[in-house]
């Protein structure tokens, strides 16, 4: 029998490819973005990142003892991700968007749908569904983050990490995260939890693709 991580990769690979091969994403990874579109993307990402830990917390509060390893993993991960919305803010500031403007930004319907689904799923579907959100985000960061950051740097003539610190640093950090996440996912043996994780992965790839598409 396949380990669950392998099963998850196989069952969600088309959704990953849908993201990867979306025309807007293709163009962004290959050629970068205009400054206006990059600002819009970061403003949307700010709201995704802001809600990341609260979604994890909501999920952690409902994880049963049978999956306590998931809960402990979420505690560690939340600690590690604390303050990362500030990194997005700093990148936004580097490309000309002040903190006040960032805070006042009204996220798009797609971002609201993404965050809304993740809260709903953690609360009503299965708390382990949060691992689907994490898997999708970490795949995007570790597989596409590095090339996307390079493309943005080249297209906007940014120096070093300035303006791309969030994307660039997550591309590196998430390499280790993927190994840890794989090991954790392989411990999940409850069918309902597994199905919720697969569903959440598919939905997260879908909504994130729409977020990119809309900027």
């Amino acid at each position: 029998m396949l380990p669950f991580f392998a099963d998850l990769v196989m069952r969600t690979d088309e959704a990953r490819r849908e993201f990867e091969t979306n025309a807007v994403v293709l163009d962004a990874v290959a050629h970068g973005m205009t400054i206006e579109r990059y600002r819009k993307l970061l403003l949307e990402l700010y709201h995704v990142v802001w809600h990341f830990n609260p979604v994890c917390a909501a999920a952690a509060s409902r994880v049963p003892d049978a999956q306590r390893e998931v809960r402990y993993y979420l505690y560690d991960h939340m600690h590690e991700e604390s303050g990362h919305e500030q990194w997005v803010m700093n990148d936004l500031e580097a490309v000309g968007v002040g903190h006040a403007e960032t805070r006042a930004h009204q996220p798009s319907a797609h971002t609201l749908a993404l965050n809304g689904f993740n809260y709903w799923s953690a609360d009503r579907r299965h708390p382990c569904s949060v691992l689907g959100m994490m898997y999708a985000l970490e795949v995007i960061a570790s597989v596409y983050g590095g090339t996307f950051a390079s493309a943005i740097r080249e297209s906007l003539l940014l120096q070093g990490e300035r303006g791309v610190s969030f994307i660039s640093s997550h591309a590196t950090m998430d390499m280790d995260h993927m190994v840890t996440l794989r090991k954790l996912l392989n411990t999940v043996d409850d069918d309902a939890a597994r199905e919720a994780i697969v569903e959440s992965t598919l939905l997260n790839f879908h909504h994130i693709t729409r977020v990119f598409e809309a900027v």
């Binding site: 396949l2 392998a6 990769v9 990953r16 490819r17 990867e20 590095g146 993927m178 794989r182």
Partner: protein
């Protein structure tokens, strides 16, 4: 064709495919499979699954399909080979099981093609654009390999410290010998259709645009003597056997090698993936082939540039 065969054919042809288009030639009993893994034409898991489905259908109806033809519907690209983004993901996750499974699924296709003559199916492939790594590996087991003149191909894996692990060694050695397999796989160089023809890896080279006519010529030539041809090809297999065990053992070695890739290697792989993306949907843009040229400036196309290799002397 009796009603049972008609029903089986109808089942085969009407199955919904996302990445394949099927065409049936009733006169020659030939099934043409056009691949269209948009926008990056590579062996994705879903694309592999669809291809395997077609082969399973053919196998389930012995005698129905006499010729299998594979072509690409993506202009300028036959196949970029493995799904590089998936490799990056699995390697970063240190996911040995999934990597091995991906390799084994590729070998399942290659092994089916290797056994095609035994199944009464003659196989022909037309390459009309870039074909790299696993894309070229997938071409090698076909009985007849046709390249249009502008097509270029190679095994670039060594450039990012890997090697082609799904049949390249076995089939290139069988067709062209050890020294050419060494040269191609260990150099990572790219080859023109003409250069591959001289190395006996391509059977027919035709001018651009003449590929379809070449397929027709091959099928019309083979069809009247199909049984004899297939029997001869079976004997060829006995004379120069390739075993499933060896193919699978090499996949295991490939998996282990993939897990040893460093960040630098993965970044090179990502550069190629990004280059594939650049070319997707716009063949006028530079793509993976151009990126390989940059990655291996001193050796890729060295033959073309310097003209000092033994092969150029062959004319």
């Amino acid at each position: 064709m009796n009603s049972d065969s008609r029903a089986r054919l109808s089942g085969l042809m009407t199955r919904p495919y996302k990445y394949l288009r099927l065409e049936w030639n009733p006169e020659l009993e030939a099934l043409r499979v056009r691949t269209y893994v948009k926008p990056i034409q590579c062996y994705s898991l879903a694309g592999l699954a669809e291809m395997q489905r077609v082969l399973d259908d053919i196998e389930a109806s012995p005698g129905l399909v006499k010729h299998l033809v594979l072509t690409s519907d993506v202009t300028g690209v036959f196949n970029f080979g493995g799904d590089l983004s998936l490799f990056v993901l699995l390697i970063r996750a240190r996911d040995v099981e999934s990597l091995r499974m991906y390799g084994r699924r590729c070998v399942d296709l290659v092994w089916w093609l290797e056994n095609a003559s035994n199944r009464g199916v003659h196989t022909t492939v037309l390459v009309q654009g870039d074909t790299l790594g696993g894309g070229l590996e997938s071409v090698m087991p076909f009985h007849k390999v046709i390249f249009e003149r502008s097509a270029q191909a190679g095994f670039p894996e060594v450039l990012f410290n890997l090697f082609p692990g799904m049949g390249a060694w076995n089939f290139v050695i069988r067709k062209a010998g050890f020294s050419i397999a060494n040269e191609m796989i260990l150099s990572g160089r790219l080859y023109t259709a003409e250069q591959l023809f001289r190395r006996h890896l391509v059977d027919v080279v035709v001018d651009d645009g003449d590929g379809d006519a070449a397929i027709e010529a091959v099928l019309n030539g083979v069809h009247p003597r199909l049984r004899g041809t297939l029997a001869a090809l079976e004997a060829r297999r006995a004379a120069a056997p390739i075993t499933r065990e060896t193919l699978m053992a090499i996949v295991d070695q490939w998996t282990e090698a993939a897990l040893l890739l460093t960040d630098r290697d993965l970044r090179l792989m990502e550069r190629l993936a990004r280059a594939q993306v650049r070319k997707a949907g716009d063949i006028t843009r530079e793509g993976a082939v151009d990126e390989i040229k940059r990655l291996e400036l001193d050796t890729a196309w060295g033959e073309e540039r310097t003209g000092i290799t033994e092969w150029s002397a062959l004319g």
